[in-house]
């Protein structure tokens, strides 16, 4: 109990402390503490938090109730295997991007605010993974929006402010739509504690079956906002790229996954048997496939690297949602694997983009010719991570997409069993189309390139090591998929 609580509240309190204590600007003459002290302090905080989370993941067994919000609404925490998987992603990606930002944020203003909210978001994310019922989850879902919004509007420009507001309003609308559903679930379930196989009363299903389907759909759409699903995806390509690169990495790799986690929980509450074969599943499949295709297409046409990566997130998250919508175990396994695979890959890609911006100031893909000669290690990592996203063995992306396609083919759904894998393939092709040109032109700039002009621009260790770790992980999940699949199998069967 104390491990779970401390893994949630330690980073939150630490973040608040940073926000309150170090308000003065850290750069310039009147800095409060030297930058080195601050970064080592935050590094220590990140490591301690990560250690607490790992300890909680390994040791904590039982759930517990913190307090009662109203009579039947406890705020309670419990670690189950789905939560464990998401937490694993967070606990690796967030500290990695955190260390990366020590180098990246050197020239940015208001660093302590950034780290304060960074830690806050970390704590809230842990709480989200460990939440034991829907109302606790909703509570921290709102807090996650609020604590990650300052990361988006960090640089304070007009564009960033508008992006932050856009993010806020989309998320709030989505969260409210979800809350709307929670009210109904609350009426029709005995408790809001998470289950995997439906908590609806049999009498309610018989009585309000049609209405409950509408509720399920509204909740899917609502939580789908956070995951960037089709009709409500527009905030994502605006908000993610304006954040500082390490923050975009966390937003894109981890925080959007909160929406995925939410949808897994919601489907669990309604029960897959209740939703399977209904119009909700059909519409959901259509929306997910549209998003997969559209995201890739938009990414393919996008000239700015970070925006391109953000569009790619839109597309990739919907791979996961597609897998969930198919609703069999194989595709579910694929989805969860893709959560990990995409998380590591996207974090690595955004960090690479950050390293490029930090060293050269280039943001457009067209400017990046010959970048591989200047920053070979970064670009190698970028290439390997790209292969992971495209889904080429032996990377994690291959295994997850394999499961997704297999699950879809086995599902026996009309039309979608074949259409799904086809669209996934086309989208993978597009993914190759928008990521590989960077590698190709980066390493082979062509004959007219001025070979004499380039200097070595490899960034410092603080930047390269996190990138390398994330890239390696993205490959390792592909080399040893059994390990991941084992956890997922546990998540499916027992908890």
């Amino acid at each position: 109990m104390y491990l779970i609580l401390s893994s949630i509240f330690f980073p939150i309190l630490a973040g608040l402390f940073l926000l309150i204590r170090f308000r003065t600007p850290l750069s310039g003459e009147n800095r409060a503490v030297s930058r080195k002290t601050l970064t080592s302090l935050i590094g220590a905080l990140l490591v301690i938090t990560a250690a607490l989370v790992v300890a909680a993941l390994m040791c904590a067994k039982d759930g517990f109730t913190l307090f009662y919000l109203t009579k039947n609404l406890p705020v309670c925490f419990r670690i189950d295997n789905v939560g464990r998987l998401f937490s694993m992603l967070a606990v690796i990606a967030i500290p990695c991007a955190g260390f990366f930002s020590f180098a990246y944020m050197k020239h940015e203003a208001r660093e302590s605010r950034y780290y304060g909210f960074y830690l806050l978001a970390f704590g809230v994310l842990n709480a989200l993974c460990f939440a034991g019922n829907l109302i606790t989850f909703y509570l921290f879902f709102e807090l996650l929006t609020l604590s990650s919004m300052p990361l988006v509007l960090h640089n304070g420009s007009k564009e960033a402010l508008m992006a932050g507001l856009k993010y806020l309003f989309y998320s709030l609308c989505g969260a409210y739509a979800a809350l709307f559903g929670i009210y109904f679930l609350y009426q029709n379930c005995d408790s809001l504690t998470f289950t995997a196989d439906g908590a609806l009363r049999a009498s309610s299903i018989a009585e309000h079956g049609g209405f409950l389907l509408v509720t399920a759909f509204v909740m899917l759409l609502g939580f789908g906002v956070k995951a960037g699903m089709f009709p409500m995806h527009a905030w994502l390509p605006t908000a993610h790229p304006v954040a500082p690169a390490p923050a975009s990495a966390v937003l894109s790799a981890v925080i959007v996954k909160a929406g995925v986690l939410a949808i897994i929980r919601v489907v669990g509450m309604f029960g897959r048997d209740f939703l399977r074969g209904t119009w909700v599943q059909t519409v959901w499949l259509i929306l997910a496939l549209i998003t997969v295709f559209m995201g890739s297409l938009l990414a393919y046409r996008e000239p700015v690297l970070k925006k391109r990566l953000a569009y790619s997130t839109v597309s990739q998250i919907s791979y996961i949602l597609f897998g969930l919508a198919v609703m069999n175990e194989t595709s579910f396994t694929g989805s969860l694997m893709h959560v990990l695979a995409h998380g590591f890959v996207k974090a690595a890609l955004f960090l690479c983009a950050g390293a490029i911006i930090y060293k050269t100031g280039k943001t457009r893909v067209a400017e990046m010719r010959g970048i591989g000669k200047e920053m070979p290690l970064t670009m190698w990592c970028f290439t390997i991570a790209s292969l992971g996203l495209i889904g080429i063995p032996p990377t994690g992306g291959f295994v997850s997409k394999w499961y997704l396609a297999l699950g879809s083919l086995k599902s026996g759904l009309p039309v979608f069993d074949v259409l799904g894998p086809v669209i996934l393939l086309v989208s993978a092709m597009l993914t190759a189309g928008y990521l590989l040109p960077l590698t190709i032109h980066g390493f082979f700039p062509g004959a007219d390139y001025d070979y004499g002009g380039f200097q070595k621009k490899e960034p410092c260790r603080l930047m390269t090591v996190p990138i390398v770790i994330l890239t390696m992980l993205s490959v390792l999940t592909g080399l040893f998929p059994d390990m991941v699949a084992g956890i997922i199998a546990m998540a499916i069967t027992g908890r």
Binding site: R23, T70, L146, G156, G164, L165, C173, Y183
Partner: protein
């Protein structure tokens, strides 16, 4: 009868007479008397609340020991005592939070007049809460109007006089309608005491007589009180009245005065007309529709506003709409949600007014958003408090606003015909709230490098900062451990019947 049963009478009388005493005291002494009286009334209400919770039943107090139907009566139950206690807390905090601004806002020679008005306001609120007699209620409605008008006008800037006149006209219209309704009711039943009227009304309804006069009377009383509490189409007086009066006045007016009238309406619904009779009239649908419209139009006006005080004032229109929506559901759960929202809104809105003044103070007194940029850095306590208040208004969990929305939604789910409308409007209104409150929060936390305004530190505003902390605590307590409060409301409503 225990000695403690005298407490409601004592509290009304104490605040009434302390008002008179204030007129001959110097300003400083008047301030102390005012604070002590609010505290004393608060303590008495708390003791009374504990007493009532332990006995578990309400009591009726005969003024001068004349039995009904001749004597005047005071009635106290859990809800009344709790409301009185809550009003005292909010009033004390609002006075404490605005105290440092008073010298700048009101001419020195009028300070004790100010405290007279506040004491009178308190006594009239207490009387509205406790009385069991319709005519006494009407008298104190008038006293309430006059003292509220004085509180608006005492800051003699051109705009406040206009606002006060507007408030006067609208309010008197409201009291006039209330009086008409009352007269018809008296004509129908021949009684002025609430319990006696209710018995007669039941008879009338059972016999099926006088249907139309009864409905007309109910409609007139409702409309009168709606005007006075600024339900949507009658809200035109509100933004100026709240926006330009002194800080404490604005906080008290928005969180207490309108709530006093609403509480009277609740008493009328339960104790005069009878809950089931009231629900069988078409009146609840009217209240429901205007409540919903208020929720949306109030927020829309707030979004267009470029003045932080007026924005908060318009947000009150929306919140009053929530309360009437709860009435309109016509269920016990809806009523509980409305009463909880009365508490939650009172705690939040006064916090916002008090916090906003801290922000405008460090922006050269300007209320324009452009000047408020970055003001939260100049006055950190006010910034945090404003953020907390905004989050509560938007309905983020852990704050009181979330619980009231939850209660409203739970109540709505149980009402067949009104469920979708209320949930959808609740959703739209939440998002609209988020639009203008979060916009403001981001604005006050946007750092500016070149600013002509000085910041202020904790040392120069200790009392103010402590008040804000209490306000935030009140909000969080209502948000985190709402169940005891909800239970108490339920118990109090049960005592009403």
């Amino acid at each position: 009868m225990d000695f403690i049963c005298n407490f409601p009478f004592f509290s009304i009388l104490l605040s009434l007479f302390s008002g008179t005493v204030c007129s001959v005291l110097p300003a400083k002494a008047a301030k102390i008397v005012n604070r002590v009286v609010i505290l004393a009334v608060g303590l008495m209400s708390a003791a009374l609340l504990l007493y009532l919770l332990s006995t578990g039943e309400s009591f009726i107090y005969w003024m001068g020991h004349f039995p009904a139907p001749w004597g005047n009566e005071i009635r106290a139950g859990v809800l009344e005592a709790g409301m009185a206690l809550f009003f005292c807390i909010i009033m004390y905090l609002s006075m404490a939070g605005g105290a440092h601004k008073l010298p700048g806002e009101v001419v020195e020679s009028k300070h004790n007049l100010y405290y007279i008005l506040v004491n009178l306001l308190l006594s009239s609120l207490l009387a509205l809460v406790y009385t069991n007699d319709m005519f006494t209620a009407y008298v104190f409605v008038e006293i309430n109007t006059i003292s509220a008008c004085g509180l608006i006008m005492i800051r003699q800037v051109g705009r406040t006089i206009e606002a006060a006149v507007r408030y006067m006209i609208m309010s008197l219209l409201g009291s006039g309608l209330l009086l008409f309704g009352l007269c018809i009711m008296y004509d129908l039943t021949g009684h002025l005491l609430m319990s006696n009227i209710k018995e007669s009304v039941e008879l009338i309804v059972a016999n099926g007589e006088y249907q139309i006069p009864l409905i007309v009377s109910v409609a007139l009383m409702c409309t009168g009180l709606c005007i006075k509490s600024a339900l949507f189409p009658f809200h035109a007086w509100l933004p100026d009245a709240y926006g330009y009066s002194t800080v404490s006045s604005a906080a008290i007016l928005s969180s207490l005065v309108s709530k006093g009238y609403i509480f009277l309406l609740i008493k009328i619904i339960y104790r005069v007309i009878g809950f089931s009779v009231f629900n069988s009239t078409r009146m609840i649908d009217v209240l429901f529709v205007f409540g919903l419209m208020g929720m949306i139009f109030g927020s829309l006006s707030a979004i267009k506003e470029n003045d932080i005080r007026r924005m908060i004032a318009f947000s009150s229109v929306a919140q009053i709409g929530y309360i009437y929506m709860g009435f309109g559901m016509g269920t016990q759960a809806g009523m509980v949600a409305s009463i909880f929202h009365i508490l939650s809104h009172a705690a939040t809105k006064s916090l916002l007014f008090i916090a906003a003044i801290g922000l405008t103070d460090v922006s050269g007194g300007s209320r324009r958003f452009a000047d408020l940029t970055g003001s939260a850095y100049r006055n950190k306590w006010a910034g945090v408090a404003f953020t907390a208040g905004s989050l509560s208004m938007v309905g983020v969990p852990l704050f009181s606003g979330f619980i009231s929305k939850l209660l409203f939604a739970q109540a709505a789910v149980q009402v067949e015909g009104k469920m979708l409308a209320s949930l959808i409007v609740l959703g739209i209104s939440t998002v609209l709230n988020a639009v203008y409150f979060m916009k403001t929060v981001i604005r006050i936390y946007t750092a500016t490098t070149e600013t002509p305004y000085e910041g202020i530190t904790f040392r120069h505003m200790k009392a103010y900062a402590v008040t804000l902390v209490f306000f935030i605590l009140l909000n969080v307590i209502l948000g985190v451990s709402s169940q005891p409060v909800v239970n108490m409301i339920g118990q109090g409503l049960a005592m009403f019947a």
